[in-house]
């Protein structure tokens, strides 16, 4: 059985924040079509690790490789990566559809009316498309932030920070459906969550920051 080449690789990653070391020696080989579940208690550095994998920050040691090449040398990385952080990136004064369209335009994704409507429908937000973000609840904002995943191209990398927070059962199902589709289309995902996310159902690789090591 041939082992697929890893799409995302974290090699001996180390991170410091505010003068203290968060984690070191983190390794991960994530092939296409697989998901990695980033676990760890509060303050262990899950969000920091995601930022490093997204290319927002440079690690204190180690490297991040996408399709074999380091991030800064990778011209097409931004076209294939989606990072949904804990902060929603939704401006209060925009309407839901406008906010989604802005995020799509900024990252160069398809921002056409049909695509945006489809994305909103996937997360059950079509009825709220003209509501200002200010009036949405936490769960609705999280769903809107996740809706942009429906606009992502195939076979990319999804980096999600606590995506299941504040989601009700239906929304969680919708997100799981999106994830399944993405993984089946040879995409990969690195998801940070302090809640168990039915990792077995996804065949997820576990990366436990508490141990500073990966458990395959």
């Amino acid at each position: 059985m041939a082992f697929p080449a890893p799409a995302l690789e974290l090699v001996h990653l180390a991170c410091r924040r505010g003068g203290r070391a968060l984690f070191h020696g983190v390794n991960l080989a994530l092939p296409a079509g697989r998901m990695a579940w980033l676990r760890g208690g509060n303050g262990r550095g899950k969000s920091s690790l995601l930022r490093l994998a997204a290319g927002l920050a440079r690690p204190d040691a180690g490297r991040v490789l996408w399709q074999g090449a380091p991030l800064h040398a990778n011209a097409s990385f931004h076209a294939q990566r989606a990072y949904v952080a804990h902060a929603h990136a939704l401006n209060d004064d925009l309407r839901a559809a406008e906010a989604l369209r802005f995020l799509a335009r900024v990252s160069g994704r398809d921002a056409g009316d049909a695509s945006v409507s489809n994305a909103l429908a996937r997360m059950d937000l079509l009825a709220l498309r003209d509501a200002p973000v200010r009036r949405l609840s936490q769960g609705q904002r999280r769903r809107l932030a996740l809706a942009r995943l429906a606009l992502e191209p195939r076979a990319g990398l999804w980096l999600l920070d606590e995506p299941f927070d504040a989601l009700d059962a239906r929304a969680a199902d919708a997100l799981r459906a999106l994830l399944h589709e993405h993984l089946r289309a040879d995409g990969c995902a690195l998801i940070a969550s302090h809640q168990p996310i039915a990792a077995a159902a996804f065949g997820a690789i576990e990366l436990d920051l508490d141990a500073h090591a990966a458990l395959a």
Binding site: G55, R81, L90, L94, V106, G108
Partner: protein, 223 residues
């Protein structure tokens, strides 16, 4: 990068239109500040006429700096800035340019158009007020560019408000000198063209030098 520039520029204009009171506050500040000088100095027309160009320019400078702290603050707080910086290789440059352009369109341009009114109230003649308006039209983009650079350097810092003003004001001195000097030249019967040309040169210089600097500052703020 162009799509990012346009998307951000138009979005900021849209947001300013939706929060019109926020956008108009600096103009109110400008008018109030200009009104302080006659109250402090006395209503003698000749005195007011002589100090008018400098007063209006200084008040316009301060009014342009007032909305700077919030230039990046909201986007930084809600995570939009991170998403925008992920857009691609030269994302930071596009963001810096778009923010400066949006700042000028929502604050600098209205200031320049409001200034002749203030000038007339302080006893300037029509021609002088016209030249003042021209000098502000060329000078306020410089202020927006320099101010946006200061805002980029202080993204997310605690006392960013006053810090931005302290950082940016010394750099705006040449713009102030040439801008006010243009109107003063007309008052003294000379041509303002030299001053306006120098302002134009300052604008070219600022437009080429500051956006890359702002971009570097934005990228540095990510860490």
């Amino acid at each position: 990068m162009r799509s990012l520039f346009l998307a951000l520029f138009l979005r900021d204009l849209k947001l300013a239109a939706r929060r019109r009171s926020d956008a108009l506050l600096p103009l109110a500040f400008f008018a109030l500040a200009c009104a302080l000088f006659p109250l402090g100095v006395g209503p003698l027309p000749q005195t007011l006429h002589d100090i008018a160009p400098g007063v209006i320019w200084a008040c316009a400078l301060l009014a342009a700096l007032v909305p700077l702290p919030s230039l990046y603050a909201l986007d930084h707080a809600d995570g939009s800035l991170d998403q925008m910086l992920l857009a691609g290789d030269r994302a930071a440059l596009g963001i810096a340019a778009a923010k400066a352009a949006a700042h000028w369109t929502t604050h600098g341009l209205p200031l320049a158009l409001l200034a002749p009114g203030a000038g007339l109230m302080l006893g300037m003649t029509g021609v002088e007020a016209g030249v003042l308006c021209a000098s502000l039209l060329i000078g306020t983009p410089c202020l927006s560019l320099l101010g946006a650079a200061g805002a980029a350097l202080t993204v997310g810092l605690r006392n960013a408000g006053v810090l931005v003003v302290v950082l940016v004001l010394p750099l705006c001195v040449p713009v102030l000198v040439f801008g006010a000097g243009a109107a003063v030249a007309v008052q003294e019967g000379q041509s303002p063209l030299a001053h306006l040309a120098l302002l134009g040169a300052m604008l070219l210089f600022t437009a080429t030098a500051t956006p890359p600097l702002s971009a570097a500052a934005l990228r540095a703020s990510l860490a």
